[in-house]
Symmetry: C2
Subunit: 310 residues, 2 copies
């Protein structure tokens, strides 16, 4: 079949960065604009950051570990309370109880509404909302020039996809794929962190400023996104046998160093970051016949890699 | 726990339309603007259309049936060739060979690159690209007023999410969640329909106009989106044992009436559609504390329901 390229080249796109990085890479500064894989290959150690173990969570499932980074810069009270819940082992033995296609997975106490609900021992049982925070010099913002349907400004802050409104002076985390949020009832203060969700579909940006986001998944998304969808309303699992048990949730700082997932995340406030975003905006890979020229906030991947051994 | 609403009300959002429709519904015209569930409940039969069985495909997996609607208004040659492949039973016994997280699943012949590849008997082995088509009176377009990062105009045409550029006179299908595309190699004419993919993550709109879209999934997305992710580069399954067998693909028109999935899709060119989109843009459900006021193309769900029995 002459007209057909080998199957592994007939793919829509090289998105897995590890795979992209296998492409030939320029080792000296080149006049030619770089692809995103070339930008990463040319990055310096200082272009990467190690997430703070004190703000990193491990969600331990039978299928493996999901690594989440909390965002105290945006939701300090919720980040603190989630850690308090983790440290009193609130989540251990609870379950993932919902997987709604193109929307979210959610975990918590399946008996939360009943008399047998799991007690909260040390964490706060109620928190005020942290839907947004003030723009300020303590929150540097790398703006994305491409515009956005939902917010006056979008970009990255503290390593997270975020949005801002200069008119209101507010900044907030964006509901991109992998975002970690705090389930709530109908009132703003009805979420405490006992129920948490992660976005597994097209980014539901209409939730922005309607609910508190507290972080994002940085490794292991596929352990959540590929779970069977629940067949009940809103994707709830209809039978306890469908629930996905949570072995444990831990703060990385509490885990022995040898058992940690040592990761590095590309910084979002460097010239390398800007070059990376530009290379995702203007696609230079051979496969792209149209270089695109635009990029939407939630289509900017934030590269994560295994940390170099010390 | 007074502050916690019952769990089923502590959800981020009522997205499953079937669930939304369980809400109380106004039975007489109300001055109060409607929620999207209320718009659907008040819809007339003429607000819905039955997909043409001649342009509807059933992808039969062990787990169930995925229903796809082809888009001959945008990709007539590819729709015809995919049907030719289906009718010569090209896909029967082939496999889903790739599931890449936050990106696509892809099916086809795992031996396409080898001498044992499955022969094409009646379909065309090569097609020119159908990345875009001419804007014209034969393609009515219901524009979305909210803007877009990737295209000058977005909206819906022929029932599909689409985009337009008046300057170039082109219209094209958008890579929203569930979009069905035709894998290709590095040249524009290297896809014929033997390899097909479906978007299972945040909408990769940068693929628009880079590859031919030929339709979308209208039922059964969860049978694709919840498949285990492949562990090879680009989400390919590394071992044949991981492949997901395709029992058969059929054109609905070729299936006995009693075995068809009789569905109706909300028309995208009616006042009801406009009211529905407006109700998704301006959220009036009690849960929403901020009514949002914007909606992005790929966040507009296109409701599908079982057809009424004749």
């Amino acid at each position: 079949m002459r007209q057909m390229r080998p199957l592994r080249r007939s793919l829509p796109l090289c998105l897995l960065l590890a795979a992209c990085a296998q492409q030939p890479v320029a080792t000296t500064p080149a006049a030619k604009p770089l692809t995103s894989a070339e930008v990463l290959a040319a990055s310096a150690p200082a272009d990467w950051r190690a997430p703070d173990p004190e703000n990193t969570l491990y969600l331990e499932l039978k299928s493996g570990r999901v690594v989440l980074e909390l965002a105290p810069a945006f939701a300090p009270n919720h980040a603190a309370n989630i850690k308090a819940l983790v440290r009193e082992k609130y989540f251990d033995g609870l379950v993932i109880l919902r997987s709604q296609d193109n929307y979210v997975v959610q975990w918590g106490d399946p008996q939360e509404d009943e008399s047998k609900q799991k007690p909260i021992r040390t964490a706060r049982k109620a928190l005020g909302p942290e839907f947004a925070r003030a723009i300020g010099p303590d929150l540097p913002f790398t703006r994305l020039a491409d515009g956005d349907v939902y917010a006056p400004e979008v970009g990255h802050a503290a390593g997270f996809p975020a949005a801002r409104d200069p008119a209101s002076g507010q900044a907030w985390l964006a509901h991109c794929y992998g975002a970690l949020g705090v389930a709530r009832g109908n009132t703003a203060d009805s979420g405490s962190g006992t129920g948490l969700y992660v976005v597994i579909g097209h980014s539901p940006r209409h939730l922005d400023r309607n609910i508190t986001l507290a972080g994002r998944v940085i490794q292991g998304m596929e352990l959540l996104s590929a779970l069977p969808r629940g067949t009940g309303p809103l994707g709830f699992y209809e039978k306890p046998a469908h629930h996905v048990p949570i072995k444990a949730v831990r703060v990385a700082a509490d885990v022995p160093a040898k058992d940690r997932s040592e990761l590095e995340v590309l910084r979002t406030d460097t010239p390398t970051w800007s070059a990376f975003v530009d290379a995702r905006r203007n696609r230079r890979e051979e496969w792209f016949l149209d270089p695109v020229g635009h990029i939407e906030l939630c289509n900017v991947p934030i590269p994560v890699r295994a940390a170099a051994k010390p």
